[in-house]
Amino acid sequence: MLSEVGFVDVRVSEPFDTFGGARGEAKARAFEVYGYTFLARRPG
């Protein structure tokens, strides 16, 4: 979707185990939910 809007140079980090040990861990594991950092640029 970032590219559809026009952003370029999109990068994604390695996953963060955001919900590990939290109450929502089971639901997160069921759908393989992780946190990521996204980087993108609006063309100049």
Partner: protein, 199 residues
């Protein structure tokens, strides 16, 4: 484009959940909060140690928007859904006194908490504005950088959110945000259940 959920219903559910976090950050939530979460996500340890508890205790991010790129001194930054202000404080420390950071949030409880934190930390370059992230109170092309953390996944219309981010970014500006993504598809029945978006 048809949306999976009613945006207004979802917004009310998000308000309810994050009002709970603002008023009781150490309470029982389905996600981690606070300083321990920030450490887990790789925020700078020395910076964290120097932060007052009030500035970090309601942090409920899902990743680290600064992990791929540190901000430059003097930059102008918008935080989309700034919550208790933690990422704005990090941004404020990175851009320094000649930079500017604007946090946008829709919850009075979070805005009050964030303003107290900025005052406590003496971050005059950080301010908070009430608003919706689909219609931010920020001039077009004002920001060098837009950050966000764990917020865009809570928007019913993500394309509209990214288009609004595009509007406030200057040409050549950078979007750096933390958010969640799923490796397995979520059934349509679950996507349409507004209660599950914040559970």
């Amino acid at each position: 484009m048809s949306l999976s959920v009613d945006p207004l219903k979802l917004r009310e559910e998000v308000k309810k959940k994050y009002r709970e976090v603002a008023l009781d950050p150490g309470g029982e939530h389905h996600f981690h909060t606070g300083r321990a979460l920030a450490r887990h996500l790789g925020y700078d340890e020395r910076m964290l140690e120097a932060m007052p508890e009030e500035a970090v205790e309601s942090f409920a991010g899902v990743a680290n928007p600064f992990s791929l790129r540190r901000l430059d001194p003097g930059q102008r930054v918008v935080d989309v859904g700034s919550g208790g202000g933690f990422d704005c404080f990090v941004a404020g420390l990175q851009v320094g006194p000649v930079g500017r950071v604007v946090g946008v949030d829709m919850l009075d409880e979070m805005l009050s908490r964030a303003r107290r934190g900025a005052q406590r930390m003496g971050l005059d370059q950080v301010e908070f504005r009430e608003g919706l992230i689909e219609d931010m109170p920020v001039d077009s092309g004002w920001a060098d950088v837009v950050i966000s953390n764990g917020v865009i996944n809570l928007c019913a219309d993500k394309r509209a959110t990214f288009e609004e981010i595009w509007r406030v970014l200057r040409p050549g500006g950078t979007l750096q945000f933390g958010d969640i993504a799923n490796g397995r598809p979520v059934p349509e029945s679950a996507r349409a259940n507004v209660d599950l978006w914040t559970a």
